[in-house]
Amino acid sequence: MENSLTLAEDIVLILLDDSSGRLANIDLMTLNYSMAGAVLMELALRNKIDTDLDRLVVVDSKTIGIQMLDHYLNIISTEINDTNNNTKYWLTEFSTYGDEILNAALDMLVDKNILKMEEKKILWVFGTRRYPMVDHTQEKEVKRRIVDLLMSDEIPSPKDVVLVCLIDTCSLFTTILSEKEVQHLKPRILKIKKLDLIGQAVTQVLEKLRSDIAEAMLMLPH
């Protein structure tokens, strides 16, 4: 692995607004599937699961030593069978734990002194939480690496491929590049994004869900 952070932590650093310490405004469905994708991609990068065009298999159920990843690896290892051994099933399953994965990533970043947690009360009643960044090193490194990759013809590393997938899925490229640059680099982003099969599955599941929702909206009586 190129740095000590998990993919979920890398994505959370990009999701956080530096000045406010709050998460970028992305829809819950995208966030949940992206978090689920981050877990599956991480398990694949660590050779715990493997995929092809049809199947997902557990190849090594031994613990990694990172509680969040071990928890989800254990779920797949114990529940996988002939009817659910595919990537889309586990993406959908883990998307229901999207907030848990997000919170685990935030907690890990706080433990590593990269973020600090601040709780505030609004109107002395409603609690609100923000995560100001204490150490910007990791965030800057990830952003720099991804920008350098996109601006060149360089062949990406496997970890950079999955980061590009997740950043694009969450529509976060505009937080590290200008709108114009994103438009210009879109073909390169799509080419890199295609290189990961789990990333492709995340995109396909989200596109299908969005199209189902749009169809259902059209069916509503006016």
Binding site: A44, D50, L53, V59, K194, L197
Partner: protein, 112 residues
């Protein structure tokens, strides 16, 4: 999974055999790195005897082609069976790897 080597003209041809998945993709990558480390010749991965590859193999191929590209060395693949060709195309690897139908076509280009 085993890999045999042969030199054809100026090209080092690597002939892996069997399946490449997460159980052996790291070995595959490390073996290829070992063979190509001091090699200035173009490299041809002849997949004639490869039955199956998974996404773990794709990641190894990505790392191998990254290394080759950084060292300005030529890399090509040939003789993919139908299922291997399908996963390579669906994952877009045909856009970053030079792929040839057979060894003769690949060598013709690599030897230029």
């Amino acid at each position: 999974m085993t890999i045999s080597l042969e030199k054809v003209g100026n090209t080092l041809v690597l002939n892996p055999e069997g399946r490449i998945d997460s159980s052996n993709s790291e070995n595959f990558k490390n073996d290829v790195f070992k063979y190509i480390s001091d090699e200035q010749s173009p490299i041809l991965l002849d997949f004639d005897k490869i039955e199956y590859i998974s996404s773990a193999c794709l990641r190894s191929l990505l790392s191998i082609s990254k290394q080759m590209s950084q060292n300005n060395k030529k890399l090509a693949l040939c003789n993919l069976n139908e299922s291997v060709e399908k996963i390579i195309k669906v994952s877009g690897f045909d856009s970053i790897l030079d792929i040839y139908e057979n060894r003769e076509n690949a060598l013709e280009i690599l030897e230029k």
